[in-house]
């Protein structure tokens, strides 16, 4: 563990430099410990924390506190976090319509992997992924790990427009694009469930530490779900089951 300088209004507690569920568990434990301390009125001047794959960034107001004060207060929390048990988050089973217009890279991924498109869908949808972090775009989940057979570098030519809802893979990660955006990942399919809604109490559907599986659905079923969700007749929570127990 080391503390890295991120200007005069943030510091980064770095636990390692790899994508690894064990590192993420330590990040989450520290995140929870800081949240508890703040709820108890400690750590004045802290604005927010940002958990990532392997580090936790603490953002603060340099007019209200100082790095030296904060570092002293964080020391104990970091030690405690290293020994904290961690719950395994919520479990989601999200519908996914693979291939066709929704997954324009499915055939290329299958070729590169030496598999049939059906085998790619099977490999992608039977794996349970952990949400390592959110970032890049509001609500964008970085999830892993993608089965070794499907691990490919990013496309050499990023698309200027990836449609919202696109399910994509790159290297060991998979994601769902909440927004239209440029993107260099391989598009396998589409998910109709909106990942971000500023009017919800928790605007992002997924949170770091959640587990996600995909359930293949037909185009007709996708269209039906999409229409029902847009009309507000379906609650995205229906694809969620309660948190699991500490493992």
């Amino acid at each position: 563990m080391r503390i890295l300088d991120l200007g005069d209004a943030a510091l980064t507690v770095e636990f390692g430099d790899a994508i690894d569920p064990a590192l993420q568990a330590r990040v989450n434990a520290l995140d929870v410990a800081i949240e508890r301390a703040r709820a108890a009125g400690q750590l004045g001047g802290v604005i927010e924390t940002v958990p990532t794959f392997r580090s936790l960034t603490v953002v603060y107001d340099p007019l209200l506190t100082r790095r030296a004060t904060l570092e002293a207060a964080l020391g104990e929390l970091i030690d405690a976090a290293d020994h904290a048990p961690v719950g395994d988050g919520r479990h989601w089973c999200l519908p996914a319509c693979y291939g066709g217009a929704f997954g324009p890279d499915l055939a290329d991924v299958a070729d590169a992997a030496g598999l049939t498109p059906e085998a790619v869908i099977d490999a992608h949808s039977t794996t349970e992924y952990v949400v390592y972090m959110l970032g890049f775009l509001p609500g964008f989940p970085f999830m892993g790990d993608v089965p070794a057979a499907l691990q490919l570098p990013r496309r050499s030519e990023p698309r200027l427009r990836v449609p919202p809802g696109s399910i994509a893979i790159a290297n060991g990660l998979t994601a769902i694009y909440p927004w239209e955006s440029p993107g260099g990942w391989h598009l396998l399919g589409r998910c109709p469930v909106p990942l971000f809604d500023a009017t919800r109490d928790a605007p992002a559907l997924l949170a770091a530490g959640d587990r996600v599986r995909f359930t293949p659905v037909s185009v007709d079923e996708f269209d039906r779900l999409d229409a029902e969700l847009k009309a507000g007749r379906l609650d995205p929570q229906q694809w969620c089951s309660p948190p699991g127990v500490t493992s």
Binding site: L6, E14, V50, F53
Partner: protein, 347 residues
């Protein structure tokens, strides 16, 4: 209620406040104005809460028209203004409030050395989205329909009481000095000679400079080795300076990504971030390193200086009166006779 009509948004104009906090963990950047000091000065000039939403303008060219009644505005920034009335046109310097009668126009015709101006509008209220009215266009949050302002947009505002206009008695002077940074978090990904080059060579602001960030061009900053060109993504903040494989730095600003996979060589300190955002394409930027503790001291000193400035906001002398004190301090500071107020209104 009256309304402010956007006749032209210029290069870019959007509604911004101080930004939304607390959502970076789900990928939502702060957004908010690139120039918080200008926001606080403009709002104080116009009689709003200092952190109220206002219109952030890039590079001049904006035109605003009062509709269905009077509208009071105030402009902070290195801008020249034109007030178009039934009688004709008068030129004004910024850093003052101004009331447009129904049908009158204010033009932000020129920004001087800086790119940014903030136009505060008396009684402008916008709904909060995730705690802020700031526009973040990528996710359609805040502002007006989550987007930049367009020709024909109308913002409803409160009609002002006929109270005196206010101005800032001593105008800020542009600071062309180097931009101060704290090295890290991934300075160790760069060859020592590149750190030296980063802190000694000038970099040019390219045309790719907006609310997300500023791409700079200069001597390529070489990573320690090929493996050091990328990191497993970690968090970024406004001011963080990413260096992708081509060695050309990108300074992230208010709309910048919350996390990224490029090593960050340094972070611009809080006190200097707006100074960097103000720089125009083609201008040179130099960086100098300071410690975290020194940067914190500078942030506090900058806040004290701003408080002193806000205390220097006073009513403008009435029509026909010349405020010699203001005239003297303005000309002394700006070094030019700016020919403000050709109708003799208030120095």
């Amino acid at each position: 209620m009256s309304a402010l009509e956007i006749r032209s948004p210029g290069a870019l104009a959007s509604i911004q406040d101080i930004g939304r906090r607390g959502w970076r963990r789900i990928g939502v950047p702060w957004a908010g104005t690139l120039a918080p000091q200008l926001l606080r000065i403009a709002n104080t000039l116009v009689g709003n809460d200092a952190l109220a939403p206002a219109i952030e303008c890039f590079d001049g060219g904006q035109q605003f028209v009062a509709r269905e009644g009077a509208v009071r505005l105030a402009v902070a920034g290195d801008a020249q203004l034109e007030h178009l009335t039934a009688e004709g046109k008068r030129s004004l310097v910024a850093w003052r409030s101004l009331t447009l009668a129904d049908g009158e126009t204010l033009r932000v015709v020129h920004t001087g050395t800086g790119r940014l101006a903030v136009v505060a509008v008396f009684g402008l209220a916008r709904p909060l989205v995730l705690g802020s009215a700031a526009t973040y266009a990528r996710a359609a949050l805040g502002g007006l329909e989550g987007r930049a302002l367009q020709v024909g947009d109308r913002l409803s505002v409160i009609e002002p009481a006929p109270t005196p206009e206010h101005h800032l008695r001593q105008l800020p002077t542009p600071d062309a000095g180097p931009i101060r940074v704290v090295l890290g978090p991934q300075a160790d990904h760069f060859a020592p000679a590149s750190i030296e080059a980063f802190l000694s060579m000038p970099f040019e602001v390219t045309a790719e400079a907006d609310r997300m960030g500023v791409r700079l061009a200069g001597e390529a900053l070489l990573h320690r080795d090929a493996a050091a060109r990328e990191i497993v993504s970690d968090a970024a903040v406004p001011g963080a300076i990413q260096v992708p494989g081509n060695g050309q730095p990108i300074v992230l600003l208010a709309d910048g990504h919350t996390a990224g996979g490029y090593p960050k060589i340094a972070t611009v300190i809080t006190a200097d971030l707006a100074r960097l955002a103000e720089r125009k394409p083609g201008e040179a930027v130099r960086f100098v390193a300071v410690s975290v503790a020194a940067a914190e001291d500078l942030a506090r000193a900058a806040e004290q200086a701003l408080q002193a400035r806000l205390g220097n906001i006073v009513p403008l002398a009435g029509d026909g009166m010349i405020d010699l004190d203001a005239l003297y301090s303005r000309n002394l500071l700006s070094g030019i006779i700016d020919g403000r107020d050709d109708d003799g209104d208030a120095a």
